[in-house]
Symmetry: C2
Subunit: 406 residues, 2 copies
Amino acid sequence: MLQLSKFPIKTLKSAPKVSDNRSTSLLLQAGFIRQEMAGAYNYLPFGLKVLRKIESIVREEMNSLGAQEILMPALGSKEHWEQTGRWDKVDVLFKLPASTGKEYALNPTHEELVTPLLGEFIQSYKDLEFGVYQIQNKFRNEKRAKSGLLRGREFLMKDLYSFHKSEETLLVYYEEVKASYKRVFDRLGLGNDTYETIAGGGDFTTLNSHEYQTILGIGEDNIYICNECNTSHNEEVVDSSIGFVCFKCKSKNHRIEKASEVGNIFPLMTKFTDSFDVKYTDSDGKAKEVYMGCYGIGISRLVGVIAEYFMDEKGLVWPEHIAPATHYIIVMGDNLDKAITLSKKLEADGKEVIIDDREKVGFGQKASDADLLGIPYRIVLSDKTLEAGGYELKSRLSDETQIIAL
Amino acid sequence: MLQLSKFPIKTLKSAPKVSDNRSTSLLLQAGFIRQEMAGAYNYLPFGLKVLRKIESIVREEMNSLGAQEILMPALGSKEHWEQTGRWDKVDVLFKLPASTGKEYALNPTHEELVTPLLGEFIQSYKDLEFGVYQIQNKFRNEKRAKSGLLRGREFLMKDLYSFHKSEETLLVYYEEVKASYKRVFDRLGLGNDTYETIAGGGDFTTLNSHEYQTILGIGEDNIYICNECNTSHNEEVVDSSIGFVCFKCKSKNHRIEKASEVGNIFPLMTKFTDSFDVKYTDSDGKAKEVYMGCYGIGISRLVGVIAEYFMDEKGLVWPEHIAPATHYIIVMGDNLDKAITLSKKLEADGKEVIIDDREKVGFGQKASDADLLGIPYRIVLSDKTLEAGGYELKSRLSDETQIIAL
């Protein structure tokens, strides 16, 4: 349990003005995050808890896929980036001058590292197929960073890379990842409004890639959703001369929504294994190309997207398994001991508790902080509720209260 | 459980030659790590497990201290570093040019961030005292990086910062951290050879700082240990003109040992709170200075130190609660089902299991890989052990085997 009387972070009396979205204001006001510089944020304890819970859900689903977790560095060697020709091509690549006279990359993505790293272990068809992932900080040299967690210069991502014997088996795995991503966004509470979206394949495949786009007023992308079959398309794949035609059912009937990209999956084919000369010897003795896929989820961006998606007029609203705590106990009067006992009971049941035992803070302030923080359940423990028979329980999303015996 | 038949990483037939230490060779041979560039490493699954387990032990002890976990970015604003005068003073500070025309710091330490970050919440004596910590990647622009995990350009640290009303209460907390660090190094198995070591205080306090030095042949530091009272001193505090005199008991009788610094604690006093003008109003209405301490533990360095400290002629040796797995089951013949059943039984008991079910790999190779990886317990499950009554159990550090019924 966490007692606010001993907790260093305080909420702000009013929401700081932030130009482009309200959830950032709320995350600041509630003391979840603080900006270090445009595009780089400090996570205070409640913000970090949300980040870690999203991370855990993603990790569980990656492990369910059978992928192995690894951790690659933020620093990358220039040689690796030159080997793929991307040292000078990726405009958001931070280049770090070192006292050795060398330059290092500050990796915005890790194909340049993971391909030689795992390629070392690929000799024969018996060494394939597999997936590895990491949950790791990435950097982008953005000209303009959005305020908040939606577009940062430093951000946390999950990136999964898979290695395959053929395009066919890559595409089988690709579908498994789609199913896994659906579970992730369902568990995060975004399932209903997160669309697997057809996007361009870049310059090294004729296949499409897919983005996961969550409908959001402040989203940076426009997605075209077919009204007949619900297939979603990124603006970039819509033919501007003939207008929208659904890739799946050919209908022209569609709606356009603003959305924020929370994930993307990409059939890399042999682009990177070719660059690093990663091949395998098949059972027929022939050297063959290794096919790769890459699959990202923006973990820190999801903190911002989930905040923006669920917030209401009173403040933040977190789904129970992502919230910094499940219960917020407002203690009034001389009832801290009872609150601690109740809190231990809840914790034994797997719940997480914030006890608001601040002195000289009135009920109104405590209640509005409980709402602002977005904790799913609010408990009031006061002489009055005890007289009424116990403690008062209220859900964040309802005004109904009930008295429950201690 | 992890089945090696499906695991992408393989051990190397022989240990790669690495100039300055053998544990790095073993970590490479066993497939725990791979170098991306000098001073920046990839953690493969087993290496990452060790890293995370060390991290968990440190986190538990920080939480026991009552410190709150936060997460600060790797990028720091130049303004913050200029405000303390360290932008041009810290020679290992990486300076990152951005497309905005600005420069950012790639933080080697976080006083420049944590002081204004938490300073915001300090107004009155009621807001003090507290500690916050993070487990986060740091960067040092080293001219020369050591091979392995002992001195990197990118490395994982735990850094705790505490904020106090006075020097007296800072020093009380400082002693609590010492007790906490003792528990950390005891739990990591390094307690017997890790010395709290008196070191210099730098230019902003007349007090000493303290390092935690683990005796190690490849250590970069020399520590002077008093033979009378066991007090350890960094070379830098030994007066070169008069020779060693114990700071505690004044004895001159001492030994000198090579050691590696795994932690340090530092009474920062008001150096940083002064720079950022963080003051508090005391109960007497007067504005007073805020005292700070900072306390580091090198998490990724500890992977290297523990590897070097415990290794033997057969390979790595990990303490049970740090090892990538507790049990390594060698399956020979048609006994995989039995191994999986046994493995589930062990896992239900809180153990972690690697099953070596690789086909066409002989017993000798499997046994030497079990030793190389340093897994505490080796189990053999073969027709022969089944005939003898069950499976064979052997500790990594003993040659004695016993047969245990399934």
